[in-house]
Point group: C2
Chain length 420, copies 2
């Protein structure tokens, strides 16, 4: 093969943008005796075509490389195909994150969902609230992500057509926030007085919301994406219920269920995100939330994206109510008993219906394989993620209705390719 | 600390030997302000003491290293503490095997059980039967273990006080043997004629036994250890039952159950191993077999060691019948659902009784963590084995009756030490 030509029909003025939910990743690829030719509407599609081209090359004996004549017209069916990485249970270095981005590109994945902080640590270095990482990171100097680290990661991601969506999980999963800013958390009470423990973010103090507003204004500017994941999972209500100021709030507001305090939190908090994203980034965007924010009954803006992780029981309801949905329940990489085949099969998802029902293909945006890091650190990270996440990637690119068996050898070949 | 002195009371004439089941691994270690002093009866104990000494050193700030004053008298309770590595499902390079040996030494493990061949491939290069690896290896040049590779591995193991016990699994698990020597396998029959498939080694042909005799004579000279593992697990009987020459054999011998053909095989085969080991290596030794060779009812020589892998139901029977036993059921590293805690707890094993019953401490020799390689290759091997096998190592060194929780942080520290 003598040459590779790439033709992109997109106008140049859009070329500098960041990857986004509506980017066009379709491409056509022709390998003829004279060379390879890639046509794409946008640079994002050209990237996917280049990736395919590189994967068509195969080694034969005597260190020769071969490629077969072919014509391919290809496009993903789901626009959101991601990996979630938790960098709070174990800190993961910038270098490893960039390796992860490269491995995602080999699998044509396009969203890096960065679960950057959690109970255990707060490695995000904030300019407006430096105490968050000074006190909340595992180490305030070596175990943090500076603005320049994040810029570099976003730059590397963009070169591979990958969005970087940060998650700042609230109001639960916030113990580490309290190390730098104890005033944010709810003091829990025993029968008479404070018991020394702290619960979720304080949902009734105005100061909580003004803090979040300042923090998220910064986060939006740093991260560039039209979406911010604001968590909302696993919010324990006991501590809120024990706290006198929250009890007063419920009495005044005639709120009978403590769960409604959570609605109050989400309803006061999530909408402003959408407004700020529109204002600061000049794009329509908003929040992604874990499924509990939806199942709790909070009134979420229709533009909110619901991420399912506890099975698929809410899938139909969320779609019926008009929400857009991400699925991740089948693809929890920390569950060692889920093997490659179960990742691939993921029987609970209606792949078949996706291909035939307009509503589903409009609202089911895709999914993510989730790498929670309680039990894995830098050392074993990539070998924990791959090859299983290749099953997620294939299913989200083109969820044809097929059994696992023909996919097995294909995935094995992909693994070997990735190791080369 | 200024100096480390090591005193070994063993006479020099024994120093050149290979590690063996009765080696003395006990040591005493004293760290005083003047230096460290290790006393051991044999070099093997001195090695364990040096390992402990290196693990007592810990880093503090400013790149300084510290060690605390201490006195330790230590010895293992089980003499056989091993890792099984399967190099037939995936070929594992010599370099990685040596890395594994080094990591075993950090955990004071002393047996490398080398499951060198199986159905899938025959990487052992035999001088007397070169066709075995020429035809049976994944690649006859790059995916084999030459005599010099094996010598080097045994040398590296010896320097770390680790025995190398080869396993040539028979009569089942032998498909790859048939690629070079089809005459060894039993042709299976359909209703009328051969169906094209092959079963286990042919148990009624004299040629099978003369082949094994020649092969094992070589193996004993190459591997040096007083034990050879001859497998005996998962022998399918259907093919034997279908074969006319085996049917004739059972009729002539008035054998009514096909299972007895298996007894015949084991009874004809295992005893000569013991005799040859005594003759060639001048030590009392013999076979290790998987539990089916025992549970099948074959008359095994009393010196045979039974390795349990299917749970612990045969543990009591084997001990009662006077056999020595190895346990490995709790420690199957390919079972991803077995986490560190379950490796550590291994509730089915009578650790408590071991400490109080003479019979148990005489006959329960130890155990092995087993790394079968259907689902893992070179790339992820060491991170699949560790840190879980550290639980096996600790349990076999000193199985004090304690819960998992205090062990957790200790194991985590050990993992960090191994990664440094």
């Amino acid at each position: 093969m003598q040459s590779v030509s790439v033709e992109i029909t997109q106008e140049c003025k859009h070329v500098e943008s960041y990857p986004h939910i509506e980017m066009d990743e379709s491409y056509e690829l022709e390998v003829s005796s004279s060379g390879a030719f890639i046509h794409a509407n946008e640079t994002w599609g050209a990237m996917r075509g280049m990736e395919t081209l590189s994967q068509l090359v195969y080694p034969v004996h005597h260190r020769q490389l071969r490629i077969n004549l072919t014509r391919i017209a290809d496009n993903p069916l789901f626009p959101h195909r991601g990996i979630l990485l938790d960098t709070a249970r174990h800190f993961i270095s910038k270098e490893t994150i960039i390796q992860l981005l490269e491995s995602m590109a080999m699998n044509k994945m396009n969203v890096f969902h960065w679960h950057i902080v959690d109970e255990q640590s707060f490695p995000y270095q904030s300019a407006v609230f430096p105490a968050l990482s000074d006190r909340g990171a595992y180490d305030p100097v070596t175990k943090i992500y500076t603005a320049s680290d994040i810029r570099e990661i976003i730059h590397e991601a963009r070169l591979r057509g990958i969005r970087v969506i940060p998650e700042f999980d609230t109001p639960g999963h916030t113990r580490s926030w309290g190390l730098g800013h104890p005033e944010l958390l709810t003091p829990c009470y025993g029968e008479i007085e404070k018991d020394g423990f702290y619960g979720p973010l304080n949902p009734v103090a105005d100061s909580t919301f003004s803090f979040l507003e300042k923090l998220f204004t910064e986060v939006m500017q740093v991260f560039k994406d039209e979406r911010i994941h604001i968590g909302g999972d696993e919010v324990p209500l006991r501590c809120w219920a024990s706290n006198p100021s929250i009890q007063n709030f419920t009495i005044k507001g005639n709120i009978t269920k403590i769960k409604s305090v959570y609605h109050h939190f989400e309803e006061r908090y999530a909408p402003y995100l959408r407004i700020y994203i529109a204002c600061i980034l000049s794009v329509g965007g908003g929040a992604i939330v874990w499924e509990e924010a939806f199942s709790s009954g909070a009134k979420l803006h229709e533009d909110t994206i619901i991420q399912l992780w506890k099975g698929s029981s809410l899938f139909g309801t969320a779609i019926a109510k008009g929400y857009r949905v991400l699925t991740s329940s089948c693809w929890y990489l920390d569950h060692m008993e889920l093997d490659f085949a179960s990742f691939y099969r993921c029987r609970e998802l209606p792949y078949g219906a996706f291909l035939t029902m307009q509503r589903l293909s409009d609202q089911w945006l895709g999914g993510e394989a989730a790498m929670w890091t309680e039990h894995v650190d830098e050392e074993g990270l990539l070998s924990r993620i791959w090859p299983r996440a290749s099953a997620t990637a294939e299913r989200l690119w083109r969820p044809v209705n097929q059994t696992f068996y023909p996919a097995g050898p294909r995935m094995e070949e992909q693994r070997c390719r990735m190791l080369r």
